[in-house]
Symmetry: C2
Subunit: 148 residues, 2 copies
């Protein structure tokens, strides 16, 4: 995919966010890496490229992106928040053994709901937990496979 500086800059400008170097780098990281990185993951990954980078900047940037709708917060983990570039509606599964978070398709709007008749719903989150296939099936050598 095209995650060039130009593309990322345009994406930021389209949301009225000034395309600072730090912001472009954060946006590039979450797009290229994918998955569900924490603020600290991002900070550590970019510290090499941007030696002056402050963790506060990462927090500020993530807040800005979430508010603009460029990222979704995944708050399934007990400790740190995670960030997801996949904007389409989907559920999150966290493996209780390895901690990995997986996306899955779920059409929550198809499910019958009772008790929210006069409510205005703006956000729907589906969080599952359990064991992923890797942790469920130990390999021949007796150890569990690496989490993807």
């Amino acid at each position: 995919m095209d995650y060039s500086i130009e593309f990322l800059t345009r994406r930021l400008k389209s949301k009225a966010i000034r395309p600072s170097y730090q912001r472009i780098k954060v946006l590039e990281y979450v797009h290229q890496k994918g998955g569900h990185p924490t603020a600290d993951d991002i900070f550590r990954a970019l510290s090499g490229d941007i030696p002056s980078l402050s963790k506060v900047t990462v927090y500020n940037t993530l807040h800005t992106f979430v508010k603009a709708g460029l990222l979704r917060v995944v708050d399934i983990d007990d400790g740190e928040k995670r960030y997801d570039v996949t904007l389409a509606d989907h559920g999150h599964f966290q493996c209780e053994a390895c901690g990995t978070i997986f996306n899955f398709r779920v059409n929550i709007d198809q499910v019958p709901i009772e008790g929210l008749e006069r409510f205005e719903i703006t956000q729907k989150n589906v969080y599952f937990k359990g064991l992923c296939p890797n942790c469920l099936q130990p390999t021949a050598n007796g150890r569990k496979e690496e989490a993807r």
Copy 2:
């Protein structure tokens, strides 16, 4: 309902939890009060009855209860964890204006899911956010109604 000391004691013993005074009081509080109290809500509410009460005891007790299946954790809120005595499967809605959490009926097992074919699911959480009826409709005097 019957939330007598005897009932609560029996309930604890049935889960092999020693019915200490503190534990009985915490269990009594969450049953009588209902809703989705935080550890601090419980601590402040019981401090009068149990002047020596430590917050650590509340945390310990809540952990014990959750592990025994007497309570469910509701982790919809950004800050503190909340605890729910309603054990039957249900979703949680948090009003973004007043912060109140409401339970609602949802049969998550009826929803078609794709991508978790080889996973073992042990926990399913449905968290919605938005505005509750109270916050949606300002009253005649111009102020919003009190949250339930």
